[in-house]
Amino acid sequence: MMAGRDGLYEGVAGTYGSALERLARAYEADVEARRDLLQEIHFALWRSFENFDSRCSLRTWTYRVAHNVAASHVQADRRARSRRLVSIDEVDIADDRLGVEAVSDRHMALERLTTMIQELKPLDRQVVLLFLEGVDATGIGEVTGLSVGNVSTKIHRIKNVLMRRFQAGGHYGQ
């Protein structure tokens, strides 16, 4: 069983390691605290695989563990609790603080995107993150517990926010 746990963990760490790091970045702005959070996520994953029962896919299991640990981190963090987090429906489509100039610089765009995600309530943060990681609405529903219809509505809103906030930025992929 222990070898199974280690094997499962190593496979998942290899496949989803960088996605988990991005997830930690979206939940914790402080570098030191982020490192601790990432280790907590890996630790929880490793322990959880002792009881992995294949009732859901490894991807769903991994994201559930990671997001549940990260959301608990937000819940327990005094700094985070003192900040007002917003739902995706409350996010200003055009953020006045940022101005309306084109966000053409890749680094700046990423910074703004990360900041926007960090201001979201944990559930909406999960939806946005999974969407950005390329998980479809059904997969997002399996991780979060939201219906596919509800996820689709949120994704529509997210796309709208991204398009309007970063309207003239062009392509940021590479």
């Binding site: 390691g17 959301a71 559930l123 796309k159 309007r164 309207q167």
Partner: protein, 211 residues
């Protein structure tokens, strides 16, 4: 200006950001497991030592004082402390089981955590505070009686008013502490319940069943 390509680009922007961490090895995790076990061990030790101090203190009172009420009050307080220690042991770790993290969606997991915290706070007075009340009440009555008797022996009888003041002052202090803890818990329960209700509304709108 807006076009449907932009969200796709944000996928890439997000996924291609540079990594900042060297990763976590199995050895790191095993060392963390050792630290985790040590933390749980010392937390349990702290709880038992605190209970042992109460038991030792009131055992000393029961042996040292001759008054029946003082001895009986000490015995009741010891019984209360043992009961609280048993409850702490029975309720175990405050952390969820690792498998629950993977079996539950966010809505299920978060709701069950909030319900667990709410119920723990809602019932804490009955298993953490109430067991000490009979012992402390009898012990205080014993102290008052003992003070009157001692004063009479040395030829300086305390007035009934002085004794009543002593008992009322001591009892008031205990009551203020207990009521303060109860009110704080109640406030926290209300806040947790509001979060549970919010999740329930969202789950209902989303067609998700409760746990």
């Amino acid at each position: 200006m807006a076009n449907e390509q932009i969200p796709d680009d944000f996928d890439k922007l997000w996924q291609n950001q540079p990594q900042e961490s060297p990763g976590v090895s199995l050895d790191d995790l095993r060392r963390k497991m050792d630290r985790f076990k040590r933390r749980i061990f010392w937390r349990n030790i702290r709880e038992y030592v605190a209970g042992a101090i109460v038991v030792a203190g009131y055992s000393y009172y029961a042996w040292r004082f001759s008054g029946l009420l003082l001895r009986f009050g000490s015995g009741l307080t010891i019984a209360g402390a043992l009961y609280v220690m048993y409850q702490l042991h029975r309720r175990g770790s405050a952390e969820p089981a690792p498998a629950d993290l993977g079996r539950s969606t966010y809505v299920e997991f978060h709701r069950s955590e909030l319900v667990r915290q709410r119920d723990a706070l809602r019932t804490v007075w009955s298993w953490y505070l109430l067991p000490f009340v009979p012992g402390l009440a009898v012990f205080l009555a014993g102290l008052a009686r003992s003070a009157m008797n001692t004063a009479q022996v040395v030829g300086h009888p305390l007035s009934a008013l002085q004794v009543a003041g002593f008992v009322t002052g001591s009892a008031s202090f205990v009551v203020v502490v207990f009521v303060g803890v109860w009110m704080l818990n109640r406030w926290s329960v209300t806040k947790l319940q509001a979060q549970i209700d919010e999740l329930d509304v969202m789950a209902r709108d989303s067609g998700v069943g409760k746990n």
